[in-house]
């Protein structure tokens, strides 16, 4: 009888498809995974600990560095939590600006996902197509706040910078052209037989599992659960706009793929309406005390980031610094289902499934 040995393979922390310093210890039987153990923490910077010694304005740049692909939504969840705790009023123009940058960010983030996911699957070009268009969003952000990745744009009570002249028109122009681009993306990749054979039916789970594992975002909606915090627990101005929450049926990587593309379209829809209703004048900062010192109490707010439910839990003891700040990071929570999904899959599907979950390591490790 031939004796076979299991191969223990360290995928990561330096591996092109783990999207950062993430490591999975896989036991391979041939190319079939029999056990997968995720190891993380390589990018753990102790944001929550650092925050305990910083005032709230100082924490905002740290949130940029959590989910660095979607820094605007991270900014928002923090300032939103503080504002809610303090009961602050936000000027409408500021809130509109926030919503616009958040939706632009969602489009940009999904583009990064789309490009890198197809790169994981072996297609080179979509990556550059996506980044080419994302570049335009980064340009817009750059004009708005002078940064391309870590924006530090929002403040408790409003936003740091008003939109420069003509910025809104540029965003309108972008949104107009982006519809065509999404068509192009679809034509370029979505119907590709090889792609379909790679992602259809791969990494599938049912709604019950998804809920039990606390998945959120497209990972949850791909199973058919219609749960989008922008609709179900509206924050900001989302209740003013019309948009659909796309859901999948099979909960596989293909559904997640289609969902994210569709979410981009819905974001563009929101953007169109928001740009149409954008108030002419007005303040971009509300009335905020010089030192931001939320009253003693605690609060948990959550918003829909491109990756799912990002939450911020603050315990305040009435100081300028939070007593305890905890982020619910969607990447971290979504990733928990990975070991379960990987068992019995091949090495190639590891990449497909991991990519489909859409994680950002800055957020997993925080």
């Amino acid at each position: 009888m031939i004796r076979t040995e299991e191969l223990l393979l360290n995928v990561g922390p330096q591996h092109p498809s783990t999207h950062g310093v993430f490591r999975i210890i896989v036991k391979l039987d041939g190319e079939i995974i029999t056990e997968a153990t995720p190891v993380m923490g390589y990018l753990h910077r102790g944001t929550e600990k650092l925050a305990e010694n910083l005032n709230f304005t100082q924490i905002i740049p740290y949130t940029d560095r959590m989910d660095y692909v979607s820094a605007m939504t991270n900014n928002y969840v923090l300032v939103h939590a503080v504002e809610k705790l303090m009961g602050l009023e936000i000027p409408e123009r500021a809130e509109f600006l926030r919503l616009i940058v958040m939706e632009l960010q969602r489009v940009a983030s999904h583009m990064v996902w789309w490009g890198t996911y197809l790169l994981d699957i072996g297609a080179l070009s979509p990556f550059l197509y996506a980044f080419n268009d994302r570049e335009r969003i980064l340009q817009l952000f750059n004009e708005l706040c002078g940064a391309r990745l870590t924006y530090n744009y929002m403040r408790v009570g409003g936003v740091k910078w008003d939109a420069p002249d003509g910025w809104i028109d540029k965003v309108k122009e972008f949104v107009r052209s982006m519809h065509g681009k999404l068509e192009e993306y679809d034509n370029l990749a979505s119907g590709n037989e090889i792609l379909l054979s790679r992602i259809k039916g791969v990494g599938a789970y049912d709604a019950e599992t998804a809920i039990a594992y606390g998945l959120s975002g497209a990972n949850l909606r791909s199973t058919g659960v219609k749960w989008d915090l922008r609709k179900n627990e509206p924050y900001s101005l989302y209740d003013r706009f019309e948009f659909d929450v796309p859901v999948g049926t099979n909960g596989d990587c293909y559904d997640r793929y289609l969902l994210r593309l569709e979410e981009m379209r819905q974001s563009l829809r929101i953007l169109e309406q928001a740009l149409e209703q954008f108030p002419e004048g007005g303040e971009t900062m509300g009335k905020v005390p010089r030192v931001i010192r939320p009253p003693a109490g605690e609060i948990y707010v959550r918003i829909e980031s491109p990756r799912g439910e990002i939450g911020c839990y603050i315990v305040s003891k009435g100081k300028a610094e939070p007593y305890r700040l905890k982020f619910r990071r969607p990447s971290f929570v979504n990733l928990q289902i990975l070991p379960k999904l990987l068992v019995g899959e091949s090495m190639t599907n590891l990449v497909t499934i991991l990519g489909g979950i859409d994680i950002v390591l800055g957020e997993v490790d925080c």
Binding site: G214, P295, Y300, K317
Partner: protein, 362 residues
């Protein structure tokens, strides 16, 4: 004992495991003070007054804690807490005139710079001012010390003011804060009467839901399952329940399975070190009804442990690992409780308020 020694002491202590370290740290100030003054500190029943003792009576020990600040001393504690904690002991010091002179004498022996009479005066001084919950600045302190003390005092005052202001506006919140503290917080205590004066606010829309949940838990699990139930008003009237630790597993099961509650989604698990106790907060959600609940489970700091809910909500798995890693709370029943963020050989739990890094350079 000089500041140098104390820092070394602390560094050594940090090498021990988390729980052990916590214990030894309680002794640390005592040791630090034994050379210079208060034997009374050694006999004080609880940790906090001992500390207060040191702070008020022994300038040298205080200098240590000030100097060691960032590194060795468990200085993560909020000054506010110290102030409050020190208050009872100050009263005690005033009531027992015997300890005052003894301290003063020993202080004089340990530190010739301080004349005995003056030291005695100081021992009494804080007692006099303890009602204010604020330590006056006195005598030959270095500038740093003074600055630190002044800041602490200022913050304490502000906290009290904020709490009072909030208490007037939102009685629940203030009550919640007082409950959350569970220590005899001077600030919250003063806020309470102010809250009592305000007219009763309209009941929260979620009050019935909270009552029903508490009722269910009391009926179906145990009468003592729910320790407190309140509405967190700024947070969208979030029904917040404090569950007795021993009953938590049964309560979690009920939350998950009871058709009326039907909590199928665990949003977030957070651990908080309240210095007097540890707390684990679960944010629960029912996807069907959209109902939110926050559940708190309290545990002591010495050997914190909360039953794991991973068998009920698999989401809790990594969250509990993270809390175990960063706060050192044990979760009996967890399938695989290991460190998740920090390296496996890390010493200590960074998010604890008294965490001091093993190697201050890192």
């Amino acid at each position: 004992m000089s500041g140098e020694d104390r820092r070394e002491e602390s560094a050594k202590l940090n090498e021990t495991k988390g729980e052990e370290r916590r214990e030894t740290e309680e002794e640390a100030p005592t040791e630090g003070s034994a050379g210079t003054s208060a034997e009374g500190a050694g006999t004080t029943p609880t940790d906090a007054p001992a500390e207060g003792d040191n702070r008020e009576d022994v300038p040298s020990a205080e200098a240590d804690s000030g100097a060691a600040g960032a590194g060795a001393d468990p200085n993560g504690r909020k000054p506010e807490g110290e102030e409050q904690a020190s208050a009872p002991k100050q009263v005690q010091a005033a009531a027992e005139p015997k300890t005052g002179p003894v301290d003063a004498k020993q202080a004089a022996e340990g530190e010739p710079a301080a004349p005995p009479a003056k030291a005695a005066e100081e021992a009494a001084a804080p007692a006099a001012s303890s009602a204010g919950g604020e330590a006056p600045v006195r005598r030959q302190e270095t500038d740093e010390e003074k600055a630190a003390r002044r800041k602490a005092a200022l913050e304490a005052r502000e906290a009290a003011k904020a709490a009072a202001a909030q208490g007037a506006a939102r009685p629940e919140a203030a009550g919640g804060a007082a409950a959350a503290g569970r220590n005899p917080a001077a600030a919250a205590g003063r806020a309470a009467p102010a809250a009592a004066d305000a007219p009763p606010p309209p009941p929260s829309p979620n009050q019935p839901r909270l009552d029903r949940a508490a009722q269910l838990l009391r009926e179906l699990v145990n009468e003592d399952a729910v320790e407190e139930a309140s509405i967190n008003e700024p947070n969208d009237h979030l029904p917040t329940l404090v569950i007795k630790r021993d009953r938590w597993q049964a309560c979690a099961g009920l939350f998950r399975s009871h058709p009326e509650l039907n909590i199928d989604y665990l949003r977030n698990v957070a651990g908080v070190d309240h210095e007097t106790h540890m707390e684990v907060i679960y944010h629960l959600l029912s996807l069907d009804s959209g109902h939110n609940y926050a559940v708190k489970v309290r545990t002591d700091r010495e050997s914190p442990s909360v039953p794991s809910v991973t068998p009920i909500w698999p989401t809790a798995n990594w969250n509990e690992r993270e809390i175990y890693d960063l706060l050192g709370i044990d979760f009996p029943g967890h399938p695989d409780l290991r460190r998740i963020m920090m390296p496996d050989d890390w010493v200590g739990h960074p998010l604890r308020k008294d965490y001091a890094p093993l190697d201050p350079e890192v």
